[in-house]
Subunit: 132 residues, 2 copies
């Protein structure tokens, strides 16, 4: 899990994503020991770029604040259910105090390589939805 | 499939991604009837942002030029094999003349919702690779 403070800029967020080769950062309050404020994704940053607002916009103005969380003691199925219910690719793992302690991504849940292997071993060609 | 010309800017690419709610554009030559030059992804744009190069950089300077393609007559398994072999999430579909006619994404191949449903119905908890 890589975190960024609410007052940091979108430019800093972009650098952290590239440096860590990840697609999502957890946004935390500067002053209160990591209380979860939101998440910021590659897509959030692309939206800022497209809007022409500039890269010095603070993360708190553009991050996603309605974060779906699971407790650290939850099992994997609970994380999968939460992704399924909300149609999302990441859930944030929190402790009893609501502090972020990790991120579980769809990529964690389903190795893409394993998924492709399953396709190759399957005859279910109707899973194909066509080119976009 | 959404295309962008080699001489267009990264800013234009960002706008096209947001407007079309997609993660990848096909980059084509302006003058030669859509000959495939490369692809540009959200990640490519985030790298430009992080580098501080500015958003007026032409797409041709930052796009991915070693594009993995499949022919339009290929079956789905061939697209899946190509993704698996190269560890990528998109392949470009081309015609006999090497012109791009579509994009197939991993999301096309495997509906994420269906994948999560499979996890929930499975007891294979060892597919979980842990939080990052």
């Amino acid at each position: 899990m890589v975190t960024i403070k609410v007052g940091d800029t979108v430019l800093t967020a972009a650098k952290l994503l590239v440096q860590n080769n990840i697609g999502l950062l957890v946004v935390t309050e500067a002053a209160t020991d990591g209380r979860l404020v939101g998440v910021i994704s590659e897509r959030d940053i692309i939206r800022v770029v497209a809007s022409g607002r500039g890269l010095e916009v603070p993360v708190k103005d553009v991050c996603t604040k309605s974060v779906v969380t699971v407790h650290g003691k939850s099992d994997v199925a609970e994380a999968a259910k939460a992704m399924n219910k909300h149609g999302i690719r990441h859930v944030v793992v929190v402790d009893d105090g609501g502090r972020a302690i990790g991120v579980v991504s769809m990529r964690d849940l389903v190795g893409e390589r394993a998924t492709l292997t399953a396709i190759l071993q399957s005859n279910e060609k109707e899973i194909f939805h066509g080119a976009d």
